[in-house]
Subunit: 354 residues, 2 copies
């Protein structure tokens, strides 16, 4: 297999989507490099083990928030620890100060530059938490303010739509949990190859079919729910489509009412437990006359006319592979609509919110 | 002021939306009753105080999940305790078992009948958590399986679109936190009157203006974010519109790219801290040519041509008042589109997910 090398920044103008395309294709190589940097992760977990960690709080926004959601599932199912997503406005807006002794606070951000994340992480440290920043920017404010730093080492990301930094965040968080629980990383054998294969899966029939879709629903359960959320965000920011993500369970609690024959539904299935939980969702979509496209999970895919097959890996690693063809779907759909996914309307690479 | 009495179930067919309309109008009376039942809440918090609670986990789905999000803000800002929303699939699907000693587990459900919530609550109790069910059904499985039960006493809800049970859940959770922190409830003086006034605010100009909107974005920050989420769910389930909710901060991290002159944005502002955090969001929407409609917060509303004024109450109680005109917006818009909000397509009152 050929694995491309990381991009370096350039100043010349680029063709629409060329940055996103390049960065999508770099992911297999970045995954391979990160897996090789296991020792840095082990050093962090050695430090974490010195503390009596009772639960984990995750803080992030945008794509990184979906990586945080993935980490939540990992922490709960692999480590057996409780885990929550922090509401930053309670800290930075309302001045809430909780006693965070016994808490590992993990702040996730590509740029490490969001002021609210930096402020909330500093406050978490003052409140007694052990703080860890997971970023693509070791020199960032966030990396500086946290006690520990895990570098996702994805290289400079130039497209505004995050792709390679998202999968690198996922893998960094998986490595953290894998190391913390005392495993040896062998579950990730073959992961770079799976990501490389996922990057060349044909999605052109779905790009074509969704050309005029005004809205798209995405859904998943368990380990595929973060992928559904991230896919919806990519579609929204690059294709200007009203894309909404629901956990399979929540979808049936109300939102399914707005799903009909004009609403394509992307069902991301991690196989295993999550796949079983999604089967009734597929039945309900069918009764609503909605066309489902199943991503991954050949078993569930057999129930559906539209499929995006994805190389199988163990369920807890599926998010790192399954998002890749969905990034390419967003790229292709944006281009087919005459949009430049590298420069979505009104967005910049670092979003400053307080 | 006139406060209508609670509805009783009837078997005869009803005109479209008449159940939802009645139940919306009952909310002021239910709020008044619940405020009068403070003693039952005090008994529960007396029991909670016997335990060394270090953090709070909330479990819910659908509208109740938005009540849980409200409770998260309250627990963090008023009690200064950490608080997380539970991912039920990690427990009921993946079999995750965390040590939950020192945790108050609060399960919120109108019907108390969702099998996954019942199973996750039983598991939380076995894992050492103190478990509390907040329901409208004292005889439900959920109330039975939890160690403590708080009855929201909203009367039978017949419309599939939850309205009065949502505000009753909000108030029950506020009473719990107010009592737990040792306050005396006086912040809620005037709340029934504010809810009654909110139930007659004129929203017809917005119903008219959104008649043909294909998608609607809702946003809020801090205490108004749960309201934005609940409003989007009501619009989705009753009007079949693609309604998507974002925290004001997350909206600027990507999703704003899909917002344009054809995307009406409902900005729910709690005033105070949340209102200040929303000001830059309004500026960005303006640059995108999107038309904002500000709900509540006269200060922020002055920046916007479209407004839904809502009687002011203290910021932490605004969610109980501000959702009311938005329920009426969903009702009115559904009727104007020829839909029956009492019986949304493909939904039933109790959703069974595993």
């Amino acid at each position: 297999m050929t694995i491309t090398t990381h991009s370096t920044p350039a100043l010349e103008p680029t063709a629409p989507g060329s940055l996103m395309r390049t960065e999508i294709s770099e992911q297999a190589s970045i995954v391979e490099s990160l897996l090789g940097a296991r020792r840095a992760v082990d050093a962090i977990t050695a430090e974490v083990r010195q503390h009596d960690i009772r639960y984990v709080l995750l803080a992030a926004r945008g794509s990184s928030d979906h990586a945080a959601l993935y980490a939540k599932y990992l922490v709960e199912t692999v480590l057996g620890l409780s885990c929550g997503l922090a509401s930053m406005s309670t800290v930075t807006g309302y001045g809430a100060r909780s006693d965070l002794r016994g808490v590992l606070w993990v702040a996730i951000s590509q740029s490490g530059g969001s002021p609210d994340l930096v402020a909330a992480t500093a406050a978490a440290g003052e409140a007694g938490a052990l703080t860890l920043a997971v970023t693509n920017a070791p020199a960032s404010d966030l990396a500086g303010v946290a006690q520990l730093h895990l570098d996702i080492a994805a290289g400079v990301e130039r497209s505004v739509a995050a792709t390679k930094t998202y999968t690198a965040e996922l893998l960094a968080l998986w490595l953290l949990v894998d190391s913390w629980v005392g495993r040896d990383g062998r579950l990730a054998a073959g992961l770079p190859e799976a990501v490389a294969s996922a990057a060349v899966v044909d999605v052109s029939h779905i790009v074509n079919r969704y050309r005029y879709a005004a809205r798209i629903v995405t859904t998943g359960r368990g380990f595929s729910y973060p992928t559904a959320r991230e896919a919806a965000l990519k579609l929204m920011e690059t294709c200007h489509v009203a894309a909404t993500a629901f956990s399979g369970a929540d979808l049936l609690h109300g939102p399914v009412a707005h799903v009909d024959g004009m609403t394509p539904v992307i069902v991301v299935s991690p196989g295993g437990v999550g796949g079983r939980l999604l089967r009734p969702v597929l039945d309900v979509l069918d009764r609503h006359g909605a066309e489902a496209c199943v991503v991954g999970d050949a078993l569930l895919g057999a129930q559906s006319a539209l499929r995006i097959p994805v190389p199988p890996v163990v369920e807890e690693l599926t998010p790192i592979v399954q998002i890749v063809p969905l990034q390419r779907l967003a790229l292709g759909l944006a281009l087919s609509r005459g949009l430049d996914p590298d420069r979505p309307r009104g967005l910049s690479k670092v979003t400053s919110t307080l």
